[in-house]
């Protein structure tokens, strides 16, 4: 028996397959594109090709497109899934999960592998992956390139929290001839400060802070967040799949 978790986020769709001993046997992701339904169907085809019978049950979907998966047996919110998935990936039952997603950012306090408390940004996109994407686009770079470049910059701050205003700020920085790495630094710094202020609303205590979601693959964000929160923030190469893994666990 296999357990399948599908996390359809605003930017990318992640799939995880676990066996009954909670071993992760399959992980893959793809862009969500413009249609969650098409994406779900494509995931279904891939799973079938790999020999997993999605019609046999055991499929749980999560993420903002969770209702768009026709072969899903159950939907669970990404907050519960990230908590469960992160507990498995990091091998810890008590932790604080920060998930920087495409359109929302969550801080989740996990106790005994279960959600104890959480905060989520409101409909504003400050401090989310979307913010990074827009700014990267303005700088004609990929988001991961921007993150890497940010490490080499400094001394620039973006004061607007609103993505639209922040974009005009970036444009005027470009106009002033500011170095690209300094602008990149300002962009990442803005995200990190916003995420940290959200996380601080929860009682972090001496819990291990972990970063999941798409941005966890950028080492610099992890470092900057550690500095801002004054505690070591760790990540994991399977971190971006935490939601999908948690969804698969929710089906057990």
């Amino acid at each position: 028996m296999y357990y399948i978790g599908i996390d359809i986020g605003s930017t990318s769709a992640k799939t995880a397959v676990l066996d009954e001993n909670k071993n992760i046997v399959e992980l893959f992701s793809q862009p969500t594109g413009w249609s969650s339904v098409d994406t779900a169907e494509s995931i279904g085809r891939t799973l079938r090709e790999k020999g997993y019978m999605v019609e046999d049950g055991g499929v749980v979907s999560t993420g903002y497109g969770r209702v768009a998966v026709p072969f899903s047996n159950k939907t669970v919110t990404e907050i519960t899934c990230h908590a469960k998935g992160a507990s498995l990936v990091f091998g810890m039952e008590d932790l604080m999960v920060i998930d920087i997603g495409g359109q929302d950012t969550k801080a989740i306090l996990v106790e005994g592998g279960l959600v104890r408390d959480f905060v989520m940004n409101d409909k504003c996109s400050a401090g989310t992956g979307r913010f990074l994407e827009v700014m990267a686009n303005t700088l004609a770079m990929r988001p991961d390139e921007l993150c890497t470049l940010a490490k080499h910059g400094g001394n620039t701050s973006i004061s607007s929290l609103c993505t639209v205003f922040a974009e005009s700020e970036v444009i005027s920085l470009i106009g002033r001839g500011e170095k690209k790495e300094n602008i990149a630094f300002g962009v990442v710094d803005s995200i990190v400060r916003k995420v940290a202020s959200q996380a601080r609303r929860l009682q972090i205590g001496d819990r291990q802070v972990v970063l999941t979601g798409g941005l966890c693959e950028c080492d610099y964000i992890c470092d900057a967040l550690s500095k801002e929160l004054n505690t070591r923030v760790i990540t994991h190469k399977k971190g971006r799949y935490a939601g999908a893994i948690g969804a698969a666990l929710s089906g057990m």
Binding site: T77, E78, I79, D104, L114, V115, R116, F118, M120, D122
Partner: protein
Amino acid sequence: MSDYVKMWEDLGMDLETHDALCQVLPTAFGDVYLSQENRPEGMGFWDFVVSEIHGIRPSELIEAQKNGQKVFGTFCVYVPDEVVIAANGIVTGLCGGSQFWVPGGEKVLPKNTCPLIKASVGARLDRTCPFFRIADIYVGENTCDGKKKAYEILAEDVPMHIMDVPQMKRPEDYDRWAHEIELFAGVVEEQTGNKVTPEKLAEAIKIVNNKRKALKRVYDARKAAKLPISGKDALLMMQIAFFDDPVRCAEMCNKLADELEQRIKDGVSVFPEGTKRIMVTGTPLAIPNWKLHHIIETSGAAVVCEEMCTGTRYFENLVDETQTTLEGQYKALADRYMKNNCACFTPNPGRIDDILRLAKEYNVDGIIDVNLKFCSIYDTEGFFVERALKEAGIPVLGIETDYTDSDAEQLKTRVEAFVEMLG
């Protein structure tokens, strides 16, 4: 509601804009209310009132005005209805619960004003609310800065009386509020041409107390393990209570309570067993603001209580009926109204006590603290509310929202996650 076109025209309403509202309301009501299963039969009355919301009650009010009665439009649970009723006046709530009216308010108000104030001002200035057109005078109160200043704008358009609600609860503040009520009685006498006598006021106090008792009976039925009524339906009853005749309101609520009490005996519930019980606390939910209740009740939970102005604050605590002099009665009224724990008071520990007490009485699994955007007093008080609840081991979710649907999916995720967290 087409039968009322002539009446709306006579009221000087903007018919074209108002038509747009009349067209969307039935769909919204159908989606949110009529889709529920096994509703109490007694809700038929409120369904009917909603179906003619800008027609049936306004036409009664106009009829009453023809017979010489005066209509007082009010915005807040601190305005003592008893005084108006004693002078044979009528109290009505005013529109303010829909995004439909917000752009109208934004023409004159700063953008960081709460949607309730924006909608109220928009409903008046755009001439799309019959209650705002009918009222002979509006009675405002200084419960927040946004309202205080917005009343100055409204006062350019209509007669307005403002009651100075104290912002602290020292003994002298109770005296001052009793004096404010006495001043208000003078305004009411002048408007209506009728004297407020101890006999009339005693009668009015009984009428409003009976209404409070009836509303409370319905709320008490929501304390049952098997919920006989949805939170949405109870909210609707509550919202319309601000507009209805108080005697009829009590009669209808008592009838509904009879049915609910019978349902409890028969073990009839509108939710499956094990449904998580949520109390909402915070800023008011004026009709037709059903957004949060709908999200909660379509996310696997039920709303069992509202610690809000459109909730327990409206009916908890009765006015002492034994007073026989006006002085004693004004004092009794002041005592009752000052028991309301609005965030406009500083400090306001009574509200925390209320929330903790209600959480027990209604056996809640979790609390959602909801604030209308830009309501700084409730937003700030949320710090104490959430801290006290966490200390008491009651899960709490803080939400800030407005009347638009743009955050509905986001809210749904948060509410669903909260319900999942409750286990």
